[in-house]
Amino acid sequence: MEWTYNDVARAKSAVRAEKMIQPSAEVSANKNMRKPNQWEINMPERKKEEKIIEIVNVSKVFDETTAVENISFYVRKGEFITFLGPSGCGKTTTLRMIAGFDIPTSGKILLNGKDITDLPPNKRPVNTVFQRYALFPHYNIYDNIAFGLKLKKVPVTYVNDRGESYTKMQRLTRREIDEKVRNALAVVDLEGFEKRSISTLSGGQQQRVAIARAIVNEPEILLLDEPLGALDLKMRKEMQIELKEMHRKLGITFIYVTHDQEEALTMSDTIVVMKDGCIQQIGTPTDIYNEPANAFVADFIGESNILSGTMVDRFTVRFCNRNFRCVDDFERNEKVDVVVRPEDVVMCPPEEGMLVGRVVSVVFKGVYYEITAMVGRSEMIIQSTQSRERGDIIGMKIEPDNIHIMKKEFTTNKYDGYITKRNTVVFGDGEFDCDVTTLYPGSALDEEGYLITADGKKLDLTDVDVSVEVDLKNIEISDNADEGGACGHIVSLIYKGDHYQYIVRTEENEEDFVLDSEDLWNENDFVSVKIRPENIRLKLKQEIQ
């Protein structure tokens, strides 16, 4: 079975979204069942539970490509929520579906509990600030901002001669429009710009007009599609603070789309991290940064060291050949991804360090130095205000709090290996027969053991570094120690319904072979590992000169 990143991500996002929705559902159910007690009555309406918009199982397919795949989440009233992700992750499509420019292929969008899935954009109480502003070039600033106001109808109550009051939908008067436009211009700091034409404005000013044009309509939700993307860095920083300030003052819900993680962390109350049309994680900026849900989020938000580890005991994880105390608990012997932020690695004298490594690069980054050290075969990035020299041996300490552990799902074993003189491959503390001609399509071996490529080049593969992949199902174990390429003890077995999953660990370098088998073995059995040559996938680490 080929495992894809998406499957896990989808499972996770579904779990996460469920978690988020459940509590509020419970609360409302409880309210219906019993009378609220005094304490509850005295509590002001709990803002947190007011869902302004809810996305339920929404997917969007364009032609044959899926832009958004079965996402569910909700936005609280007054919240500043950010969709964050690399380009093509579906964040803009999601925003466009909320705005009404795109209609979901399946699923529902609820606004204040009402289904608005098929409502056209002009019927929705939301306004958008477009990526390229989309200011109307044939109107001046006043007319751009007043565009929405002139179309708007508001209920006005009259009293007729018999003293009965009645309500009529009416357009705003010229005076009201004037005043609202002036106010909006004041909010964005462009007083007195009414008569200017759009083409005379700088990028930053156009940006402000675009915001004014949207907020002047007093929408329930303001949608912002990478609004700062076209501005230079300094301008962007200023606008970030201003937007945050505007959000505080106006009190309306902001839904923001960006690919800039720093922007998201700075401005948002809640961040929705997306990738390949799926939600990876929903949380506050602190949550997302400190407790990334998976390796993708950890990698996308800030810098991180992602290492492979194994849970060896309760609250104990083993990576870089050493056990660490940690605060997350997973099942024993579970393979995990360990995420350590570079600023959480503390340098110390080698004898005091939990890890010892050799410095391979030092880069000055202004506020700190970025130091890369090799610990065995793993790379560790450290951010520190102290500098080190290349070649220094340093110790490193990591607090248990700063070790973030994520479940790792795997179907393949990955190793670093090298080719021998006999055209076998060495990895995982063993030597295995393999088919080296797979490295070059159409190649063949000659009598002397040299590889002849399809275009006739003669290559010596001896000691060439390769990465090796073997699927779980393609590893067999045997109790004849001489039969296989490597030997080790079974350190873990988990029954998975129709088969057992074993981890065989070698003695010398503690290399693990993860495999699925229907046969029953016992823990601590000493076995050898057999892999058929055609099941060993080789890949060159770099081109051979």
């Binding site: 056209p120 390229r132 565009f147």
Partner: protein
Amino acid sequence: MTRIHFSRKQLCIPYGLFLALFVVIPMLLILFYAFTEESDGAITFTFANFLNFFTSKAKLSTLLMSFTIAIISTALCLIIAYPVAYILARSRLKKRHVLLMLFVLPMWINFVLRITALRELLDLIGLLGTQNYLNTLIGMVYDFLPFMILPLYTTLEKLDNSYLEAAADLGGNQFTVFAKITFPLSMPGVISGVTMVFMPSMTNYVVSDTLSNFNITILGKLIDEYFTTYNNWHMGSMISIILLVVIFLTMLVTGGFRDSKQEARGANLW
């Protein structure tokens, strides 16, 4: 071998010569003829041709006729072409380029052949000889429609969709979006289309002659008659100049000379 370098100025010389020979000098000649008359071999300066044109009822009614036919056929072209261009440019049809080609294809067929064919067709349905005005209008519209569709199509196709989305987002329904955003932003295309149809409709007398059995005279025909039948180059030149002024004024009114910035946004073919 030495390489020959041309400066930009030198490269302009052939075009300058061309302009002088085929534009400036002919224009001056027309002006000269228009304001002179010849009696017994002596050429004298005069306003007589000018006064003659504006006092002759026949000539004035020809001017009015040309103007009316040009305006009506331009309007018809615009009304027919706009929806076509809009649908072709804004739809997601995969074969829209083929459709556009079909609309433009008649332009590649010989003009006289097309008109003759149309004449036969009108004869067949019994319009020929009875509906001279209608026939002339049908001919003009049939002939000049592609010149209206093309610039409209290019402008509408280039129109940034986010303007329309923004207008809808701000509360505009489909009609408002069209009236306040799409149409105003397609004005450069409208103007160039109008100009390209209006000018030939004022003068293309092959259409009116063929389809009205010489019953409708437009300015182009009048000019032709003065140069060929009456052999009066002076009057012919005067009518030419008046036609030129009329077209110039029309363009001023429709905004064909508006600031270059707007033209850069649109798709002017001329």
